[in-house]
């Protein structure tokens, strides 16, 4: 019996249905009940989807299945929605849907009084639908489609509180940055088909292993394909949008940072065989990943807005994933994505509760919360320990496997990233939970049940990650723990965390801490001035071109047309004065005209004269 795995395509449909149902409560349709039923309906459908995928997971565990549904048939183009239901894809589905369910419960508390409730749940359901379909599909074309839908969802979710100006610009930048990546990916998708004749990942892998492609073509193709995950995973130089996306509501941030962004890496892993066709692309992938990982980890250390700290931590971790995928460690990368998602979601839920009733997101303004919010504190600590390499918790295994497969230079990068992240987590912990109570944190009780419940459930998940990995047989060989690279990694965690705690958890050093060179600190705090960089390059160029072309349109093109009209009028106006009644003038005109036309008629003869 594999009823559930055969019908696994229903999972995204549940969520889509959730979108439509939730929209019924958005303004102007159903008013009488208030917007809350929208949330409950959405929760219910997510539970269905989760249940379905758990049942399907059981079935596909030993025997993965594939099938495809025709979507578009035109001329010589057949696009089918290829579904692959394997332990990996359905497993990812379960993780995503569980996090979605928890986040939706979390949102009940977080958005308790919000008037956009129905819209929020509809958009979260759209996210869910997009992500589930992305996990299930085995076709590059539909991966692109789902990434675009997630881009749209991101735009609308960031723009959730649309009457604040920062939100509006954040939404704009998020949408456009990701769209740039998506469209370059689309170019790759369009260009790939004539070469490979398929978009199915399995067939593409076979094709890539046999084809002999011109290096330039392979490089261009690979770079185009790389652009999609690059923008999605907020890698340099397209990392700014994730930072601005922090203007959106917290539950959406939890989802985005934990899973939505990771979907880019998922697609990257899937299309790695094609990228491998060109060494230039692979090197670019590793270089971008490494640079983003280090620089964003450093930037995170210089932020004072809690949400931004974690947006850069996200970019930084996905940078590590890029490096891992580039160096051929797909399984380790997948494991890191899984453990990272749980750890990041846990940290953000804990932080979100604090933001909700302390109003401020500025970590320099908060402090002394440990006694007031022990649950949030424990969640944060466990999340933080799971995020960096601390055995035996979550990300340790992924990071350790990756560390053992890297060249010394990249290993140094990984150690640096891990150390910096540990330091920045310790910094946030120190600033939030230790130190004196400030005016902002004087009254700070734990939140509503709906806020605490998903957080503590996730805490349980996070603590059980090592055990679950062992049960599922995903845990790497235990000999890994005593490898020198692993030991170095643990050392870097200890050192980074130690330095962070020393500086921020004990009042030995006066705060705020200034680096000896203020320029460097500002450079990090303002995110390498990327916003300004965009402003003077892309935005300026497009703005200038648009204005210039519009000027041409108004003045030159339309001007020429109006000039013709004007000349007609003017000549008519001036010619009318020629109607003066003088016989001789008319005769002269007739004569001149006759000569003129005569000359024209004689023109062929004239050329014969000489």
């Amino acid at each position: 019996m594999n009823t559930f795995s055969q019908t696994v395509w229903l999972v995204p449909i549940y969520s889509l249905f959730g979108v439509l149902l939730a929209l019924l409560w958005s303004p102007s349709l159903i008013r009488r009940t208030g917007p809350r039923p929208a949330g409950y309906v959405s929760l219910l459908l997510t539970s269905f989807a989760l249940l379905h995928s758990v049942l399907a997971l059981k079935e596909v565990w030993s025997s993965p299945i594939q099938f495809s549904v025709n979507w578009l048939h035109a001329a010589n183009l057949d696009i089918a929605f290829d579904v692959e239901a394997s332990a990996t894809t359905v497993g990812a589905l379960v993780v995503i849907l569980s996090l979605n369910l928890l986040t939706q419960i979390y949102a009940i508390a977080y958005l308790e009084m919000d008037w956009g409730w129905a819209r929020f749940y509809a958009l979260i359901a759209l996210f869910e639908a997009g992500m589930s379909a992305l996990m299930l599909t085995n076709s590059l074309f539909f991966s692109y489609v789902m990434l675009e839908i997630l881009t749209l969802g991101t735009y609308l979710l960031i723009g959730f509180w649309f009457n604040q100006s920062l939100v509006v610009t954040g939404a704009r930048d998020g949408f456009l940055t990701k769209r740039v990546g998506d469209l370059i990916l689309l170019m790759g998708v369009v260009a790939l088909y004539p070469l490979a004749g398929t978009w199915n990942y399995d067939e593409l892998t076979v094709w890539a292993s046999t084809v002999d492609l011109d290096p330039t073509v392979a490089t261009l193709l690979g770079l185009a394909l790389l652009a999609g995950p690059l923008a999605k995973c907020a890698q340099f130089p397209l990392q700014l949008w994730l930072d601005e996306a922090m203007e959106g509501p917290m539950p959406a941030t939890v989802l985005r940072n934990a899973v939505v962004v990771s979907t880019g890496a998922w697609v990257l892993i899937k299309m790695q065989p094609i990228l491998n066709l060109s060494p230039v692309v692979v090197n670019a992938e590793i270089a971008i990943g490494a640079f983003t990982a280090v620089s964003c980890a450093a930037i995170a250390l210089a932020q004072i807005d809690i949400k931004r700290v974690f947006s850069y931590a996200t970019s930084s971790y996905l940078g590590v994933v890029f490096v891992a995928v580039g160096t051929g460690q797909q399984d380790a990368a997948l494991m890191l994505l899984l453990t990272y998602a749980i750890a990041m979601a846990l940290i953000l839920m804990s932080v979100g509760g604090i933001i909700l009733n302390n109003i401020s997101q500025d970590i320099t303004q908060l402090g002394g919360l440990w006694k007031r919010r022990p649950i949030s504190g424990i969640c944060f600590v466990v999340g933080a320990l799971s995020l960096v390499a601390v055995p035996p918790l979550g990300c340790f295994w992924g990071l350790a496997s990756i560390a053992n497969g890297l060249s010394p230079l990249l290993l140094a990068v990984l150690l640096l990233v891990n150390g910096l992240t540990a330091c920045s987590l310790a910094r946030v912990f120190g600033l939030l939970f230790t130190g004196p109570v400030t005016d902002w944190t004087r009254r700070s009780p734990e939140g509503l049940w709906a806020l605490v419940l998903p957080m503590t459930i996730l805490l349980g998940f996070a603590l059980h990650v090592p055990q679950s990995l062992a049960v599922l047989g995903l845990l790497p060989n235990l000999a890994l723990v005593t490898q020198p690279a692993t030991l170095l990694l643990m050392g870097s965690t200890l050192m980074g965390g130690g330095v962070g705690l020393f500086l921020y958890a004990f009042s030995t050093v006066s705060k705020p801490i200034r680096l000896p060179i203020p320029g460097v600190q500002d450079f990090l705090a303002y995110d390498f001035y990327t916003a300004q960089l965009y402003k003077v390059t892309v935005i300026a160029i497009v703005g200038f071109l648009a204005k210039a072309i519009n000027w041409c349109d108004r003045v030159l093109v339309d001007g020429a047309v109006n000039l013709v009209g004007l000349l007609t009028l003017a000549s008519g106006q001036s010619l009318k004065y020629n109607t003066n009644g003088q016989m001789q003038f008319y005769a002269l005109s007739i004569l001149l005209g006759t000569i003129f036309f005569g000359l024209i008629l004689c023109y062929p003869l004239l050329s014969a004269l000489h």
Binding site: A74, A75, F162, V167, L176, M187, V190, D553, D558
Partner: protein
């Protein structure tokens, strides 16, 4: 089978004129156009998907010495457009009716337009086509000149001058085609283009290109269009952008690509360049606009450019994409203009710098804003909506022939996203102005045409096969004509040219 599509709206126009109560005009018009739409849907159901040639033909001799016959027929190129014509007529009847004066004249003109466009799409005789092609200018002129905005005089004059020139050029080309090739009549099937040498073919095709290019419009022949679209009332604009402009691309495919397969090959690279320039030019201009209606008007130039690129590429897939894009663009543009019309009617302005925060659920226009976002995204080519399905087929089809122009078109669909984000961020997002925001409440009754269009846009986006299946046999036929004899013919023409 096809005559009813001509006669029903004509009878409707007469009925409105004769019926004594002017306030009943819309009801009568709705009934007649619903019957027309139903008839075209019935034709769709009867359409034989295995035949790529003309179907449901009707032929009556009319003025024999001239070669003018009453000759109708449809194929997969014209039938979907006929259905679109019927749909948009009903939408136009329900657009922006507040304080409508002389509604009787207005509604009968709209029905006349329906008949005119249907006639042009169905006629299989070149002269018969021209009659309709020119005839529908009169109701459009009146609609713009009577119900237009402040500068309606300027706009309607510009419109009539431009489109009349378009008609003249097309007529001249048709006369040239028939007389120079010594065809026995103006019957489409009688035209034998093989008798023409390359030079005259090129000249005739250029005349057609300029003639239809004005209608589409292509850069730099477009300047009538922003003025006209902006000054005309929303209902007129929906018909202008949604279906009237499609006559240009229809003509180009029917009389350019289908009549001159060999020469089409020769000029197709330049066509692709003109198309790409239109695409980028339209998008760039749209970014610079401050008036939302003008912005949507410029967006139309960009999107029509895709059709030209696809038609130029001339692969089976790209021509299919071109026809699909006509329908998709007609639907999306109608939706956009409808919503912009609502915004203008309710807030009294179209200025991006004044509009703000319309998403506000209590005092704003939440449903309109939501639909506007969806329409903008459909136009920007977000998957799941019909715009993407059509554009993707265009891109995939054209890439094989013209890789660089196709990539530029994809790039430009990013620019589309830029101006729609500007539009949405300024109108829907932001803070509602407390002083201005005393808008009349809109009900579903005011907005159902938008909901209908949205539903179609969504449905065809999720199930693009329903859009493409009607066109496929015809495109196969069109393209086989384009490719099979083309190589031989070019060689022959080249020889004769030398």
């Amino acid at each position: 089978m096809l005559t009813p599509l001509l006669l029903i709206p004509l009878f409707g126009a007469i009925a409105i004129a004769l019926y004594p109560k002017p306030q009943a005009s819309r009801t009568i018009a709705t009934i007649f156009s619903l019957v027309t739409l139903a008839w075209s849907l019935y034709l769709l159901s009867q359409f034989d998907l295995n035949i790529g040639e003309i179907q449901f033909t009707e032929f009556h001799r009319w003025i024999d010495p001239l070669g003018l016959n009453y000759s109708l027929g449809v194929d997969g190129l014209s039938l979907p457009l006929l259905a679109l014509n019927g749909l948009l007529t009903i939408i136009a009847l329900y657009t922006n009716r507040k304080d409508m004066e002389r509604s009787r004249l207005h509604d009968s003109l709209i029905l006349l337009i329906n008949a005119g466009i249907a006639g042009a799409l169905m006629s299989q005789n070149l002269l018969f086509f021209i009659i309709f092609y020119e005839l529908e200018l009169i109701p459009f002129y009146l609609l713009i000149a009577i119900w237009g905005g402040e500068k309606r005089g300027y706009a309607s004059t510009k419109f009539i001058l431009y489109t009349a020139v378009s008609g003249l050029l097309v007529l001249a080309a048709f006369l040239g085609i028939t007389f120079l090739s010594h065809s026995p009549s103006f019957e489409f099937s009688d035209i034998a283009i093989d008798n023409l040498d390359l030079t005259s073919q090129l000249i005739l095709l250029t005349a057609l290109l300029i003639g239809f290019g004005i209608k589409i419009p292509l850069v730099p022949l477009h300047t009538w269009m922003p003025d006209t679209y902006v000054e005309a009332s929303p209902s007129t604009t929906i018909l202008l952008g949604g279906i009237f402009a499609k006559l240009g691309t229809y003509g180009l495919l029917r009389f350019g690509l289908q009549l001159f397969p060999a020469t089409w090959h020769i000029i197709s690279p330049s066509l692709a360049i003109i198309g790409t320039v239109s695409v980028i030019y339209g998008a760039m201009n749209a970014i610079a606009q401050r008036d939302i209606k003008r912005m949507v008007a410029y967006s139309s130039i960009g999107h029509m450019g895709y059709i030209l690129v696809a038609a130029a590429a001339g692969t089976e897939l790209s021509v299919l994409g071109a026809i699909a894009q006509m329908i998709a663009h007609g639907l999306i543009l109608a939706l956009l203009f409808f919503l912009v019309g609502i915004v203008e009617q309710t807030t009294g302005t179209r200025d991006l710098d004044v509009l703000n925060g319309l998403m506000n659920p209590i005092r704003g226009l939440p449903l309109t804003s939501g639909l506007l976002i969806l329409a903008g995204m459909a136009s920007a080519g977000i998957p799941g909506l019909v715009g993407f399905a059509a554009e993707f087929v265009v891109f995939q089809g054209s890439f094989a022939t013209f890789p660089i122009p196709t990539l530029l078109c994809i790039f430009s669909s990013g620019l589309t996203a830029v101006y729609f984000v500007i539009l949405i961020n300024r109108t829907c997002f932001g803070k509602l102005d407390n002083v201005r925001a005393y808008y009349t409440r809109l009900t579903i009754n005011d907005q159902w045409p938008a909901l209908v269009l949205t539903a179609i846009v969504l449905f065809l986006g999720v199930q693009p096969n329903w859009l493409l299946r009607w066109m496929e046999p015809t495109t196969t036929t069109l393209v086989s004509e384009l490719h099979a004899p083309a190589i031989v013919q070019i060689a022959e023409i080249d020889n004769s040219y030398r």
